[in-house]
Symmetry: C2
Subunit: 484 residues, 2 copies
């Protein structure tokens, strides 16, 4: 793709944005719904996705359901209008600091968005995934940089969406697709692009975040990068439900072959837990699962060799088998270290393993573990505490939850971090290196805020105000008048 | 100051933050009010500020009133609790994507904040200014990097605030002060600092933004940098109220000797406006005003020489006089160019002039001006339109307002951009180079959001939830349950 092509894409994005950003909520909501319907109606996408990613038909069908739900949920967010954060402060001649003019503020579409798609969710975090849905909901034209792991699926999804948007009366270039890393970087530097989103590796995300920050005009870059999702199991929880914890853990580690950003990478259990045999047995019952693509497979094998060579105890060795088509198939690998060994080997052991590998860490007591956790895990998408019912009031458990709340975006009490609910209260993001910018979420309706910017209008006659700020409130959005 | 001192400051900030961030709203609101009262009660600050900045007693007294109001307004924001954006999604066994757990999300204090103070508002944008008030309201400990233009005032403000906070039961290190550029940069790199705020020049702000972005763990940096605040006057507005526009413009340009980030730097008027004599007469009536300090004075004189040497017509020459104490005193300088001359001379003419200089630009017609404005003024804090009452429905005026809304944080219809109302709907921020990050505001209650980060709790028993997320809602904050 030439620089001229990139210029064309940018120009089309700008033109599409100018029209799309002014659409009324109902029209925009219908357009989102039309994209959801088009995705559900397509009879090819599952087959193409299976071939390109190795994910199972059931998983992909579920992912399409989730992706369509997400688009429809954002349609409701658009209809509701609360996300606009409308504030209307009427003129006040008696304001304590002198007469105050009429000032009205809301969030407006930030401008064309560039979305770098992920490999591991070919629907939910790719061309039609959460970042695209959020951008479309916000009223922004979006350019998606396709993930090289599923190029045909990306093309098909982009064209079905573009067609659905056109049929719904929106500009065709409201969504566009580019392939190629250089093309993505060139667009990220383009003045037309006002916000970028990304889901992927720490290395890739950091490089792109640096590009965004070093532009002549820096732009916000929301990258969802690496997370190892620590889980702490107390002695009480083990006494209460060891079997359930073993099975939940192994299921969460091995689902989608461990290629999930919320996979529990570290399970902390008290010394003397006696779970070794149960963990091995559970891991050995997991059927082998194909890894996404050769790059993921290569990275996982290298990472697994590193961990196995780091002086750890092997709980379940697992395997990686390469088939005649050069696809790799993996079964879970579980290893065990003490807390002291983890601290000593942190440079080798603490990285994310993108695949079905997880580390069981044995600790002496919660009091000794707590101060180490903040050092070992400065930023994660999730952090989980498993405690017994009668430990909920234990001050150490309370301290653990407070500590995790400072170092993760989502804190779970019981349950497992994989399976991220698409809902208004979800937070999918966290301190570095979980994200490049932990003021946003990339799952749930709050994700829309990243694609908006605030603008205030002072002393404007009604005719010159955007609809959400008008007294007659033609869109029926929530308006806060003279709030604090 | 040694590295050990910096480490001590960081450690104290972290300890203070740990305690302060858990305070209940009422206690925090009282602490903010106590700081406001301590500032108002101090009998030395005006005298010190006058000597250090040259600003008038009346202006400084007004600024103290504004600063105290701001602290009290944030106390009300804290009491209200709406800023926490509480979302509670209760468990739903029938959720379309499978059973949904209980998920609750709110904004929590981001961590210790570093605030780089400005020179031109020794109260309202300095040690006890908006960024500090917002950080304290958010529940964050704050370290202020003092502006070298008013070191004694900074010391006095920091110690009166620290005393007031201690008396209100808060940790003394909830607010700390450092002097020195190197010290500021060292702290900006320190892992304890989680967010930084800044008000100042484009060059200084960009350098610090780059430091924040290049940390091993990048942090959000909210810099309010340069703005030239274009004002477009239509032919109709001139017919309606030329005299009022001339006097409003000159007052806005010359107030506080033009050392305001919202000073109108460019006034667009139709050719044949005939305002020359009136503008000169109004400018010549303005008494000379001291510039803040030798650095500002030097920068302003250089900038004024550059503009006067750029082939412009002089409307009112003004002057800069240096007194026996090396303080510079200025009267307004107004120059005139055509739109074509501005475009041709953009590299020399478009920079911000930090002092009482403004450029009158003559344009032929709105239709020709509009496409140029977006190129000339990509990002500003404010943009103003003066039109006649019967032009409000003119499509070109509508297009101008829409264009300005894309390139400025605040759009005014009539009036002048100086004098920023402290209110919930205010937006003080805008696209680069107005700010490094235009998702936030540094004036008004929405400023608190920059100092918070979202955290979700999943399946947490009531005892382990932070107060805002509990069903019994002990702080009485607004809670949105099962919202879209």
């Amino acid at each position: 793709m030439t620089t001229t092509d990139i210029e064309d894409i940018a120009r089309r994005a700008q033109e599409a944005h100018a029209a799309y950003s002014r659409t009324a909520p109902e029209a925009r909501a219908r357009a989102l719904t039309a994209v959801a319907e088009a995705l559900e109606a397509d009879d090819q996408v599952v087959t193409i996705a299976q071939a390109e990613t190795g994910l199972s038909e059931a998983r992909l069908a579920g992912e399409i359901k989730r992706t369509a739900y997400q688009l429809r949920a954002f349609a409701e967010t658009v209809r509701d209008g609360g996300y606009l954060d409308v504030r209307i402060d009427t003129a006040d001649p008696d304001f304590p600091l002198g007469p105050r003019p009429d000032v009205r503020r809301c969030l407006l579409p930030a401008g064309p968005v560039l979305n770098f798609a992920a490999s591991n969710f070919p629907f939910a975090f790719s061309v039609l995934g959460g970042d695209t849905a959020a951008a479309l909901a916000a009223g922004c034209a979006v350019v998606v940089k396709a993930h090289p792991g599923h190029p045909q699926l990306s093309d098909r999804c982009a064209s079905l969406a573009s067609r659905a948007l056109t049929d719904a009366g929106m500009p065709a270039a409201t969504i566009q697709l580019v392939h190629g890393q250089d093309e993505g970087v060139e667009l990220l530097r383009h003045p037309v692009i006002r916000v970028a989103t990304f889901t992927g590796s720490v290395r890739g995300g950091r490089a792109l975040a640096d590009v965004a920050a070093s532009r002549p005009d820096p732009i916000p870059f929301f990258g969802e990068l690496g997370s190892v999702n620590p889980v702490v199991v107390t002695a009480g929880a083990l006494r209460e439900r060891a079997e359930e914890i073993v099975s939940g853990y192994v299921t969460s580690v091995s689902g989608s072959a461990g290629q999930l950003c919320t996979k529990p990478g570290f399970l902390f259990v008290p010394v003397g837990h006696g779970l070794g045999d149960a963990l091995r047995a559970a891991a050995e019952q997991v059927a082998e699962h194909r890894l996404l693509n050769p790059a993921v497979s290569h990275g996982y094998q290298q990472r697994r060799d590193d961990v196995l060579g780091a002086g750890v105890d092997v709980v379940a060795e697992g395997a990686v088998r390469v088939d005649e088509d050069q696809n790799a198939w993996a079964t879970p690998t579980l290893v065990r270290v003490t807390l002291d060994e983890l601290i000593a080997g942190r440079d080798r052991l603490l990285d994310e393993s993108f695949g079905p590998l997880s580390v069981v860490v044995e600790y002496d007591d919660l009091g000794g573990l707590l101060p180490q956790l903040a050092q070992l895990f400065p930023g994660n998408l999730t952090a989980t505490v498993h405690c017994a019912t009668d430990e909920i009031s234990d001050p150490q458990v309370g301290a653990l939850v407070q500590l995790f709340a400072q170092h993760a975006g989502r804190v779970l009490i019981g349950g497992w971090p994989t399976g991220v609910a698409v809902t208004a209260a979800m937070q999918h993001g966290g301190p570095w290196p979980a994200t490049t910018n932990d003021t946003g979420t990339s799952v749930g309706s709050a994700a829309i805020t990243r694609l908006l910017r605030p603008v205030a209008f002072q002393s404007a006659p009604q005719e010159l105000l955007p609809e959400p700020l008008r007294d007659d409130n033609p869109w029926g959005v929530p308006q806060r008048r003279n709030a604090v």
